[in-house]
């Protein structure tokens, strides 16, 4: 069953490659996305035992990320049927193939416990998304593509040297040379602290740049801003979580060494710095897709802070994987509709979206309320967990900075979002052929309902998975 997660999207990639019609291809994409979601849900209910060589093991952490990626991908695929019908001016073959290859590699990241294989799969996701950012084929998108490719590739390459250091540490320590997570955790106490320390620094920088933690976030606004809405949704809600899962693996390893305090502090500092940077750049942002990118920087910051705080906050970090991933889907898909309708993503032109597009505008507004952490949506639960556990643990400075950043971000984002959706449509606004239809409104609406549902009620099986995941990340004194 685990193999199906990898193979099914690859078959899909071949099928979409063979289909000649730009209209049929998104339908095939949705069929394979549905299949992948089915396999995912089946695996969550009946999880296979770890493979005997220890390479594949779908543990609770992997399950959370797999679930969020698969659900988001499914909705994005459905959305592509409606969205790509408006983009028939160019072939969507590369887009569909790239998405499916990325889904396959993403599934690999979630099920493997071999850090080398995890690295290979993570780099594959980076490369497979590159041509998708360049979908619009203009000067701005090539610039975004170049920044994304260069910064992410260099970052992930630095993570590879970190892994090499770890492997060498096992050789020096005379234990069985291996990059299997379970072996490394078992032998962690014997590893030379010099190598391990150097390895953690490189891994943090490497996975941090892929995740977009400040100060390594500079590619994000460009890549998210220039790519089509559904690619942005996959980048902000999918790839970010994969990088976070890689950091969680490193964190698991840190727990077994004496480096954990150092790693936690580094996470808190980088996380808070990301939130502050996001707060600064979010203010007066005239491009609403770039605003969403800074919101993504903010939310990876939240996850990093939560992980760095440890204790109860870890539950918040894990829940935020789902909450942030799905809410980003709502925002990027509905903002894609608004962008299509106004043919602009500048707030100078986009006004009165609620009048012009009652559905997309309304969903975008609700998504904004959700992502800024207002009840009754899911991000509220995770952010509340993090703040309360910061204060309970006596980390008042961290908690205060966290709350202040959230407040500033709320105001900054509102200053961009409210004029966009409220008011009158400008007289000279360009008239385009885009109209809200079931295919383009349904997917973000479905995601919004999920975000709302998770905010009021977490199903018992999911709660078990989240608790198991948090247990894997507990500090053992």
């Amino acid at each position: 069953m685990l193999a199906a997660l990898i193979i099914l999207p690859l078959i899909g990639a071949v099928v979409t490659w063979l289909i000649p019609s730009d209209r049929l291809r998104p339908i095939a994409l949705s069929v394979f996305a549905f299949g992948h979601l089915g396999v995912t849900l089946r695996l969550l209910i009946a999880t296979p035992p770890p493979s005997t060589d220890g390479w594949f093991n779908l543990d609770a952490l992997g399950k959370i990320v797999l679930l969020s990626t698969s659900v988001l991908f499914f909705f994005c695929a459905i959305y592509s049927i409606g969205y790509l019908a408006y983009r028939l001016e160019r072939s969507n073959r590369v887009l569909c193939i790239g998405l499916l290859i990325c889904l396959s590699a993403a599934s690999m990241v979630t099920i493997t416990h071999h850090l080398g294989l995890l690295w290979v799969a993570l780099e594959t996701t980076t490369i497979s998304m590159t041509p998708l950012i360049y979908f619009n084929r203009n000067a701005r998108s090539i610039e975004a593509t170049w920044k994304y490719l260069l910064i992410c590739s260099v970052g992930v390459a630095l993570a590879l040297i970190g892994l090499y250091f770890l492997a060498y540490a096992t050789i020096v320590a005379g234990v069985e040379a291996s990059l299997l997570l379970d072996d490394l955790i078992r032998d962690a106490g014997k590893l030379s602290s010099g190598w391990v320390h150097a390895a953690f620094v490189f891994l943090l920088v490497g996975f941090g740049s892929k995740m977009g933690l400040a100060p390594l976030h500079t590619w994000k606004p460009d890549a998210y801003g220039e790519s089509p809405g559904l690619v942005g949704a996959m980048l902000a809600g999918g790839l970010v979580n994969l990088a976070f899962l890689s950091l969680l693996r490193v964190y698991q390893l840190c727990l077994a060494t004496r480096e954990i305090a150092f790693f936690q502090n580094a996470l808190v500092v980088m996380g808070l710095f990301s939130m502050i940077m996001a707060a600064i750049f979010m203010a007066r942002q005239a491009d609403f897709k770039r605003m969403l990118a800074y919101s993504s920087v903010e939310h990876v910051g939240i996850m990093a802070v939560a992980l760095g705080l440890g204790g109860k906050a870890v539950f918040g970090a894990l829940f935020h994987i789902l909450a942030n991933g799905l809410t980003k889907g709502v925002l990027f898909l509905s903002s894609g509709n608004i962008h299509r309708s106004y043919n602009s993503k500048s707030t100078d032109h986009v006004r009165g979206a609620l009048r012009r597009l009652p559905w997309s505008g309304g969903i975008f507004l609700a998504g904004f309320i959700a992502i800024t952490g207002s009840p009754p949506f899911a991000p509220f639960i995770s952010e509340f967990t993090v703040v309360s556990s910061a204060f309970i643990d006596g980390r008042y400075m961290v908690g205060a900075l966290f709350l202040i950043s959230l407040g500033i971000i709320f105001i900054g984002m509102a200053l961009t979002v409210l004029p966009m959706v409220m008011g009158e449509v400008p007289e000279d606004s360009e008239v385009t052929s885009y109209r809200d239809t079931l295919w383009t409104v349904g997917p973000p609406l479905g995601l919004l309902l999920l975000v709302f549902l998770l905010g009021v009620w977490i199903p018992a099986p999911l709660l078990t998975i989240l608790r198991d995941g948090a247990a894997l990340l507990e500090v053992h004194p």
């Binding site: 610039e143 096992t170 040379a177 990059l179």
Partner: protein
């Protein structure tokens, strides 16, 4: 044989300085190609013969020695540029920084425990020095081609370290990692060709339309 490999590493380090110190792009491209070829030979000197090894070596030689340099050369020709003009940091300062980084790498490697059989060789310092050189090129040069060259040098540094890990890295994973890095460079080469078509130049400092005011 490992002693010969160690001597070849001196050559690798020298090439780092060549790339840091030259403004002629064609010369840099050739230097990095030679560095790639040297690195392609190294595994043959260190590891015992096997067919996987032959496969990996021929893959490295073909891509690093021929395909990628050719791709970069074509991009350079089509954009009609010959030199890296006005790097963000001059050649002399970067050369000096390169020297400092190389010295630091030797210091760093000296502090870390190593296996007895690697103790007298310079795989670890050479690897870190090459990595740092790549990083330096990436951050100080303006032209997209130079940045790809920087990435290639960085990747070469990682590759040198990988030579020490034959037992820890299963062949599949090692080949996968290598392939990913190469595909990454290959995609960069393609993107470069698109940049030159779009801007009719390869100056990444012209990529400023997305700058935050």
């Amino acid at each position: 044989m490992i002693a010969l490999a160690d001597q070849l590493l001196v050559l690798v380090l020298l090439i780092n300085f060549v790339v840091l110190g030259t403004s002629r792009l064609i010369f840099s491209i050739r230097a990095v190609a030679v560095q790639g070829v040297i690195l392609g030979i190294l595994p043959a000197l260190i590891h015992p013969f096997s067919w996987h090894l032959v496969g990996i070596i021929s893959m490295i030689l073909a891509t690093k020695g021929a395909v990628i340099p050719l791709l970069l050369y074509r991009a350079m020709r089509s954009a009609g540029i010959k030199r890296e003009v006005e790097p963000f940091l001059g050649y002399v300062p970067t050369l000096l920084l390169g020297a400092v980084f190389t010295a630091l790498s030797f210091g760093f490697a000296g502090k870390l425990p190593m296996l007895a059989e690697h103790q007298n060789y310079m795989f670890v310092p050479a690897s870190i020095a090459t990595l740092m050189t790549g990083f330096l090129i990436l951050t100080t040069r303006r032209k997209a081609i130079s940045q790809v060259l920087g990435y290639l040098v960085l990747e070469n540094g990682i590759f040198i370290f990988g030579l020490l890990l034959a037992e820890a890295m299963p062949i599949m994973v090692e080949a996968g990692a290598l392939l990913d890095l190469l595909v990454g460079t290959f995609v960069m080469g393609i993107v470069i060709n698109h940049i030159s078509r779009e801007f009719s130049s390869l100056d990444t400092s012209r990529l400023t339309s997305l700058k935050e005011e």
